[in-house]
Each structure stands twice: as structure tokens, then as C-alpha cells.
Amino acid sequence: MREPASEPAAGQRIRALVRRNCLGVIGAGVLLAELAAALLAPALAPYPPLDQDTARRLQPPLAVAAGGGRYALGTDQLGRDVLSRILFGARISLLIGFSAVAIAVPLGVAVGLIASYHGRLMDDVVMRVADVQLAFPFILLAVTVVAVLGPSVGHLIVVLGIAGWVPYARLARSEVLTLKRREFVEAARALGAGDTRIMARHVLPNVLTPVVVVGTFALANTILVESSLSFLGLGVQPPDPTWGGMLSDSREYVTAAWWLWVFPGGAILTTVLATNFVGDWLRDVLDPRGTW
């Protein structure tokens, strides 16, 4: 329980809540807009993202081009349109991010439920496996596995998805450990409900709320990791456009063509920030005590 005296005054609290929700709403809006832009990339992109033309290489963005340019965000070192590449890059980043979380969540929750519901030994084993998993920095494991399996969107999704199970397993586990002793679960058991029914009807719904919040933050983190892998040249391979890959290419043109690193970096930052805003918002709404 939090002390009422430590709470700000009611008016202030409402304002704060609105303001925080406002960021959350903005974040959700940005994320939805990006999803739409990614889906509609072929229709929205002014140029094909892979179209090279050395005659128009390193054109500055429209707003600063002398004599009016034709490229809203400029062109890269091979004359490809930056805006089109960012739009197509959004497809890859969001696809990998959402798919990886979609693998990690059910995997982690299932492991956590099974571990905590089937005795001490199973629980110990799963927690040690979680320790082993956490000993490998996310990026490092992804880099290694992708290097062995070969870089492809599918491999990235599977690696990032499988490696991300631990937080959900821990959430599910701790939720079960507290719920197990609660009256309503005991009542259900007294009424003859089996383990499966108790887990599906009573435990799972309680686990889902924190999982949604943690999953949102994980989505943000996965997008960051994917961009890092592409930056290192171990993610999605050229010529397919990715934000991290575009930044990697821009390194030699840092001063000559600022738009090559400002816009793709801005795209990553906007997406990750928007996702984190949504996560914060969900946490404020779903868990006012801020316990996760």
C-alpha cells in the first residue's frame, strides 16, 4: 500500500494521469500509423526501394535541396530513395518485432505455468535454464545463432522469439505461486476442477495482464536488437532495406549526407519510443501500483 501522503494532490494526479495517457495515446497512434505505412509501403513509397541510379546519388531532402529536389528525404549513396527504403524497412522491423514477441509470450507463459505447477524439481530445473539463458546477452546469442544458421528474416524471428521467453516464464511462475494459495483457486479445486482447468480459467487470465505490459517493452527492445544486428551486417541482408542496415551504410557519409543517418535513426527512435509509451501507459492503467 502506498501512503496517501506521498501521493500528489488529486488535481495534480489527474493531470499527471491525463498527461501520461496522452503520451500513451500518441504512442499508440504513431505505432498504428507505422503499421499502416508498413502494410501500404508498396502503394505509399514514391520510388521502388531497390532502384539504383548513380546519376541521382546523395541528393539532399526536398526541404533543403537547392532548386527543389524530387526526393522527400533525399537519396543514398546508390541513388535509392531514402523515404521508400524507410517505409519498406518498417515492414521488416515490425514484422520481426511482433513475430518474435508472438513466439516468446506463449512459450514463456507455458514454461512458467508448467514449471510452477509441477513440483519443486521441475521448477528448479526451469529456473536454472532461465539463468543460463540470461547469462547470454540477447544480442550476443542472436549474433551467434544467426551467424550459424544464416541471416534471414525467419531465422531472426525464431532466434529473438525463443531467446525472449524468460521474463514471461518468471511472471507466470510468480503469479501461480501467489494464486495457488488464494481462496478462489482453492474453491475451484474443492469444486473438483483439475489442474488444466484451474490454469486455463483462473491462473492464465491473471497472468495475461502483466504479460501484455512486459511484452510491449519487449517489442521495443526486439526492434532495437534487430536494428543492431542489421547494423552489424548480421541481420536481414542487403539489398533488402532495413533501418539498421541503412545506418550502417551511412557511416561513410556522416558529414556529407546527414539525412542518411538522421532519418533511419529517427525511424528507429520513433518506433521504439512510441512502443515504450504504450507500455508505460498500459502499466499505469493495468497496474497502478507499478509492481512490474
Binding site: S6, A135, L232, W261, I268
Partner: protein, 307 residues
């Protein structure tokens, strides 16, 4: 008195985790089915493949391979680096100090910035300061390290020419990479410190302190702060994991000669014994540091031992 029981349990757990790490390192290069094909160029002849397979023992049954691998790892032998033709582990270990320097500097910066930021945010919860600090923290967490790095280089190396953009040797070389790497964890640690402070401020002893009429300042800085700083040790220990991961990227951006850069170049050179040794070393560093953190914590806070 030292909590020997707790230390014993944690050491045993850590030993198990190290065994697990060894298994993962063994298994990860075999994911593709035939690791020998990974190590050779695509145009290698059948004889070359057969020769290397035999030389590295990949022609043996899996359990024999595993047994040999574990025996060798126990002796600190990961085989020879294919590229350098010398033992892989020493090649990795000689890079460890520079990665450790980078990661620890970054974490120190994070902690020194995050603690005051998080504590002030919690003490003035809901204020404009709180919102600004939380926004900054989220911003730091949302910036890719390599992008922060490119920006720092553009501003401080190219435009202002204050710090070198790459290389190592002097303290000035350390500034930009450590800052780039520190930004990310600063955001996270700030948010966690704030959360811990808010929790402490909700405790009974804080109410007691307020009830006996202590100044708010004293309540926050004497009573709540002291109790909420202890868990920060654990947070920073765990943060080392993502910092070591981030170091891989940072080292590539700033040409910092650490383990991360070694791993990436070994991957591109298909030098898998070296990759295995390096991944093992990084994971082991993380586990050992957290073992020490947990033991220090248990000595500092007796409640942990019985949890």
C-alpha cells in the same frame, strides 16, 4: 559472520549455470547440422571438408564430441583459432580487460547519473521535473547504441574535434564509447531507482518518520533513500548483461579492441572455435559478476539469505 549457507547455495547454482553455458556453446555451432561447412569457404573440396571434420573431431558420435568438449573446456582449451592458428581462449582473455574497462565505465556513468535522477523524480513525483526525467530516461532507452555513437562522433569528433572517434590508449578514447554505451542503461536504471524509491516512500517506517515530524527532506534522503539504494546493486549487476551485449555494437562503432569486436570479426571469418571461446567468456563474466553481487548483497542485507 558471513552467510556461508547462502554463499554455498549460490556457488552451487552458479556451477550448474556454467555447465549449462558450456552445453549451449557446444550446441550452438552444431545448430546448422554440419559445423565444418560453416568453417570452410563455399568452394572447399570434399577432401578439405573430410580432413577438417576429422581434425576437429566432428566425425565422432555426438556423445563423444560432447565428452571431449567438456573435458577440454574444463582445462580451458577451446581449440585453436582457425584464423590465428593459436589457442582461442588466450586470444579472448587478452581482450577482456578492454571490454571490462568499457562496460564498467559505462555502468559507472549510468549509476552516477541514474541515482540522483531517479531519487529526485520519486521525491517530486508528478512534478515537471519528474516528467522531464522520465521522458529523458525513456528516450535514452529508445535510442539504438550505434545511432547514439554516430551522433556523438559527428558532434564531438568531427564537428568539435574534442574526442577521438575511434581507437584506444588514452582516457580521451574512452569517453565517447562509454557515453554511448552508458546512455541506454542510464534510462533503465533511472526508472528502476525511481520505482524503488517510490516503494520505499510507501513503507511504514517512512510514515513513522513523517508522523514524528521529521522534515520531508530528512525522510526522503535519510530514511527512504538508504533503504532503496541497496537493491540498486542488484539492478546494476543484472544490467551488466545488456551492457556486455551493447558493448558488441559499441566496439564495432568506435573500433574498440574488445571481446565484442573480436566476436563479430570471428563470425565474419567463420572462426568458430574463437566464437565459442568468446561467447563462453562473456557469459561467464556475467554469471561470476552476478554471483559476487549477490554475495555482497547478502552480506549487506541479511534478509536476502532467508528469502
Amino acid at each position: 559472520m558471513l552467510p556461508w549457507g547462502y554463499i554455498g547455495r549460490r556457488v552451487a547454482q552458479t556451477a550448474l549455470v556454467l555447465v549449462g553455458i558450456t552445453l549451449v556453446v557446444f550446441w550452438v555451432v552444431r545448430l546448422s547440422g554440419d559445423p565444418v561447412l560453416l568453417m570452410l569457404p563455399a568452394d572447399a573440396s570434399q577432401q578439405d571438408i573430410a580432413r577438417l571434420r576429422e581434425a576437429l573431431g566432428f566425425d565422432q558420435p555426438m556423445y563423444v564430441q560432447l565428452q571431449r568438449f567438456v573435458e577440454r573446456v574444463a582445462r580451458g582449451d577451446f581449440g585453436n583459432s582457425l584464423r590465428f592458428q593459436e589457442p582461442a581462449l588466450p586470444l579472448v582473455l587478452e581482450r577482456v580487460p578492454s571490454t571490462a574497462l568499457l562496460a564498467l565505465t559505462a555502468l559507472s556513468i549510468s549509476t552516477l547519473v541514474a541515482i540522483p535522477l531517479g531519487v529526485l523524480s520519486a521525491a517530486r513525483r508528478g512534478s515537471a521535473w519528474d516528467h522531464a526525467a522520465m521522458f529523458a530516461a525513456l528516450l535514452g532507452q529508445s535510442m539504438p547504441i550505434f545511432w547514439t555513437g554516430i551522433m556523438l562522433i559527428t558532434i564531438f569528433s568531427v564537428a568539435l574535434d574534442i574526442f577521438p572517434s575511434s581507437g584506444t590508449g588514452t582516457l580521451r578514447h574512452l569517453v565517447l564509447p562509454a557515453a554511448a554505451l552508458g546512455v541506454f542503461s542510464t534510462g533503465r536504471v533511472t526508472r528502476l531507482v525511481r520505482g524503488g524509491m517510490l516503494e520505499a516512500l510507501g513503507q511504514d517506517y517512512v510514515r513513522t518518520a513523517r508522523a514524528k515530524g521529521l522534515a520531508e527532506r530528512r525522510v526522503v534522503y535519510r530514511h527512504a533513500l538508504r533503504n532503496s539504494l541497496l537493491p540498486v546493486i542488484t539492478i546494476v549487476g543484472l544490467e551488466l548483461g545488456s551492457t556486455l551485449g551493447g558493448a558488441v555494437v559499441t566496439e564495432m562503432v568506435f573500433a574498440w579492441p574488445g571481446v565484442g569486436r573480436l566476436i563479430v570479426s570471428a563470425i565474419f571469418a567463420r572462426d568458430y572455435p574463437l566464437v565459442q571461446a568468446a561467447v563462453f567468456v562473456v557469459a561467464t563474466m556475467f554469471v561470476l559478476v552476478n554471483l559476487v553481487v549477490d554475495i555482497v548483497y547478502a552480506i549487506a542485507d541479511p534478509r536476502v539469505r532467508y528469502a
